[in-house]
């Protein structure tokens, strides 16, 4: 028997047209953002990928050089490249765990308050509003100068000053220290995470005789691992692109101790006019950040606990084995 193809029912045709109109309306509504994203983000990113294989100094025609920029980078001809990677990675992998611990501790303290929660939450969040921009970095530089506020205070109590920004062994730690007060944003997210932990878990723990530390270790921390994971990823991505603080506070010195990757990239692009080479550096940074991010994602199976997730089921199976 031949299959008879029937025309769609008129009502079905109207529904399909309505769905298309809805889709069109949706695309039109997001078109301002879409146009901006394509024109100002995707487009320039693709152009920079092309530039990475060229020699371009803004004034001369673009000259294709193939892999020359990457060869220069990986054969050690860039005096600053490997040092900048080492400095940046050291900064991220030391600073970010400290940052998370501070944000989490602050969140737990604020969450445990019976009175004044809003006041303390606001006060601790304020530095995050100021951010790590140029003005704040200038302020930090003035605070940590040889005869700045901190050393003046130390001298007042009979201690000798410290070369916070001019001692190569201390400068990077000073830059890290200056970046820590902006934990407020992460703190807010941790507070939200804490509020999502079911009270029943703590009640059960109390019944089982758990003390405060045990409650934190066995309940709070595991339940907060998704937030910690998020904070770690965002901190990794942001930290690898650190620029303003070290650039303003130390300019990359002393003795390249704070010569971050982005400072080298900025110098190559805007001071030395090597746009092609700087683009190659930018794409290498992208690959490095991608690699680290994937590593953290891969590791999340081992330490991130999602309630009712496949991941937690997998862990249960492993435990039974």
């Amino acid at each position: 028997m031949a299959t008879v193809l029937r025309k769609p029912h008129p009502k079905a045709r109207r529904a399909s047209r309505a769905a298309k109109m809805n889709n069109l309306a949706g695309y039109l509504f997001i078109s301002p953002w879409l146009i901006g994203f394509i024109a100002l983000t995707v487009g320039p990113s693709l152009f920079s990928l092309v530039l990475a294989f060229t020699d371009y100094d803004y004034l001369s025609p673009i000259k294709w050089v193939g892999l020359k920029n990457f060869v220069t980078i990986f054969t050690g001809k860039d005096y600053y490249f490997w040092n900048s990677i080492a400095v940046t990675v050291k900064y991220v992998f030391i600073r970010q765990p400290i940052f998370i611990i501070i944000a989490m501790t602050a969140a737990m303290l604020v969450n445990s308050l019976r009175k004044g929660t809003s006041l303390f939450r606001t006060l601790l969040y304020l530095p995050a509003i100021l951010g790590g921009g140029v003005a704040v970095s200038v302020m930090w530089r003035m605070i940590f100068e040889v005869d700045g506020f901190i050393n003046t205070l130390l001298k007042t109590i009979g201690l000798s000053g410290v070369q916070w920004l001019s001692d190569p062994n201390i400068a990077l730690w000073t830059v890290m220290l200056a970046s820590l007060p902006t934990f407020g944003g992460s703190m807010i997210i941790f507070i939200a995470g804490l509020k999502g932990i079911p009270e029943s878990l703590y009640e059960s723990a109390i019944i089982d005789g758990a003390n405060g530390l045990q409650k934190v270790w066995y309940i709070t921390l595991p339940m907060l691992t998704p937030v910690i994971f998020f904070s770690a990823i965002m901190g990794l991505i942001g930290g690898m692109q650190t620029f303003t603080g070290p650039y303003v506070m130390t300019g990359g010195g002393p003795l390249k101790a704070t010569s971050f990757y982005m400072i080298n990239l900025y110098d190559q692009a805007f001071r030395f006019h090597h746009a092609g080479y700087a683009s190659a550096l930018a794409w290498i940074l992208f690959v490095i950040i991608l690699a680290f991010t994937m590593l953290v994602f891969k590791s999340s199976d081992l330490w991130v606990f999602y309630e009712n997730s496949l991941s937690s089921a997998k862990k249960d199976r492993r435990r039974k084995k």
């Binding site: 309306a25 146009i35 803004y58 005096y79 700045g148 010195g253 390249k256 805007f270 001071r271 030395f272």
Partner: protein
Amino acid sequence: MKKLRFLALLMAAMMAFTAIAGCTASAPAGTTQPTAATVAPTTATTAEPTVEPTPKPQEKVTLMFSWWGNDARHAATNAAVDFWNKANPNIQIQTSPAGWDGYSDKLLTELSAGTAPDIFQISTNDIANFAQKGQLLDLTPYMDTLFVSYDSILKTLYVEDNKNYALSTGISVPCLTYNKTILDKLGIAPPTDDETFDSLLEKCKAATKDTNGDGKIDVWGIEDPTANTDFTSLVVTQYGTTMFAPDGKSSKFDDPKLIAAYKMLAGFNDAGVTPKPGEVTVKEGSSAFQSGYTAFGFQALSAYGGSAGSSPDELDVAAFPIVAGQPEMRVVSGSVPMAIYSKGAHTEQALQFLAWFLTNADSATAQGAMARGVFPSKAQRDVMAAKSTTDRIITQEMRVADFFSTLKTNGVMLPAPVNITEWSKIYLDTNNEYAYKKLTIEQFCQKIKELGDPILAQ
């Protein structure tokens, strides 16, 4: 329902249209449309500049003039521009003064986009680079006409391939500045114009003291003299060599004469008369001398006016020291240069304004102050001479400038190599290693040669 859907679609379409319209800015009437920033419109060219024919009397042109500086320079320059605009209704100048930060970046962007100002102040580090890429007008044909009264010695500066691409806005000889208050307090005789480096070292030793009794030195003789290539290059010249090869493609940091010059300067650090790295806080854009930590300093004459102006009666200036035992060698350098955009629409008018600004007495009168070093023409200096009886700083600056103009100056400042900015970063970072005693002065010179030459050769 249909009406609602139609209204929603209409709103969405209007939003999309607004976004598209916002992305494509239309030029206001009467101005040129800037080219896209990603386009590199130029090719390196050595073609002769095309100069616009003289406009008809009723045709009005407007030129853009930009520079960087402090408030005093802005005020002086704007005053001169106002004078010019009143006297030349057909050639109007619009000004765009700025601070130093970001100036070079902005200029590079404007050159790349084809929207650079007609006349602009330019960093000495950028002249070779921009000239090579055909961005600067060749001023050589006009040296004996429009710029005939411009100081001949300054015409030897900023020359690329035997062509003048930029002109210094003033005489800015390197000087030895000193703090009279500190020297008086310590009973040290002020330096003379014939000061040698040996006698300067002795004076620096006498000036390095703990003046407040806390057991720590708080006044030093001088800042590390190896750190600033503007001054080390002069010392190197006195030793009979130069820092760079004539073609700018390599340095001479393996030349025994240059190493001897650096060893002499390193003697100041070895004697302990310079503050160690991080020992003092120097304000941004300033120096240890200007911040009051050292009794002596090396400074360009054009910068001296600004720092001395804030410390009345405290500072004075003498000629740059000479190296005992070497043939007398003095070098004149220039103040901040100015150039003309080769692709501007009205280069002839731009030339007329620049010539007036740099050589005409009315320009000096209108400026009322030497905001860029001592004026580069005699007519302008005569105007200042009349003022010098009442202005201490002008007196000091004119004295030093006159001193140099009477000398048989036999040192020529070679133009900076094309990649000087990148080379300078290597220099400063390696000098830092020397300052932190990670390198001896000989190792420092060797490392500069190894790391810096590949950059110069690019």
